[in-house]
Symmetry: C2
Subunit: 194 residues, 2 copies
Amino acid sequence: MSDIKELITKNRSVRRFKEYESISIGKLKQLIDLARLSPSAANKQPLKYIISNGAERNVKIFKHLAWAGYLTDWKGPAEGERPAAYIIICRDKSIAKESINCDHGIAAQSILLGAVESGYNGCIIASIKRDDLRNDLGIPEEFDILLIIALGVAGEQVQIEPVDEEHGIKYWRDETSIHHVPKRSLDEVIYELK
Amino acid sequence: MSDIKELITKNRSVRRFKEYESISIGKLKQLIDLARLSPSAANKQPLKYIISNGAERNVKIFKHLAWAGYLTDWKGPAEGERPAAYIIICRDKSIAKESINCDHGIAAQSILLGAVESGYNGCIIASIKRDDLRNDLGIPEEFDILLIIALGVAGEQVQIEPVDEEHGIKYWRDETSIHHVPKRSLDEVIYELK
């Protein structure tokens, strides 16, 4: 297996962490540097990044996030298993007035692969109470909040599964607390032109 | 430098290739496999991938692409320096009715990093005559064409530069044909909350 395939395979979305194994500001800046060096539509580079790795700011962020839509009887990670850090990805509207293409996806993947290489895991979260978060943190009006990447040392095991009739594409947690994620097959995602 | 930082740094958008150094279908499928294993919003996995690595299909794709907006006196790669292969990334509307978040950005970055690891480079292209491409290739109506990744062995040198007053964020080509790409500094892209 190639290095990149190993990294991508290890990069599972993790939602339960070892909350007290912290990530340094220096490491978080290294991850953002990976995003900075990644492709950007028309090279505009309109993304701005906000870092959080301290208890006070982490609490303010956490309460505005929604977790794991398919796990309907789980309210999100309990104290002690919450993310150790966050990177908030924003669009700077003074640079890109309209919505951007997919710069934030490119950036998020670079950050996550860097995190995995350094022994962390993460989860991209788009379900955010944006107005409340903006107010609580004082995020400027010219920033459109796009995504939050939750980061930390994984506190759960995540396993890839084939898509089957029972679960479809909905992930589930088994009785031993392992998180299972169905992925479509390569044959399904490649379209052969007629 | 970490492995991922090296890959990300080497992953420059390349627009001139060694056209006749082909990429096998097997390799292209490996790259799509990396995208398949990458995060997807709500795990829906609505992306479909169309492969091209043969002269006939490549020609049909090439003529519907626009290249390097800032190089106003360059009409795109000449014969012999065009991409050896393409991966067309589509949204399957039967899976995701509305626009998706940034799955295509995540997928594109996985594909490009895999390509770089294997000695290739690429360029994400969003400026596409979509209707004409759909007609020429027979892409089904239920697929929304999102991006095309052009791929091949690099036929040009690309260099990262700081953003300066002369160029701003616009890339340029110097008299020795080296392509220069200004990237904002880490300090500029990290926003420190007040």
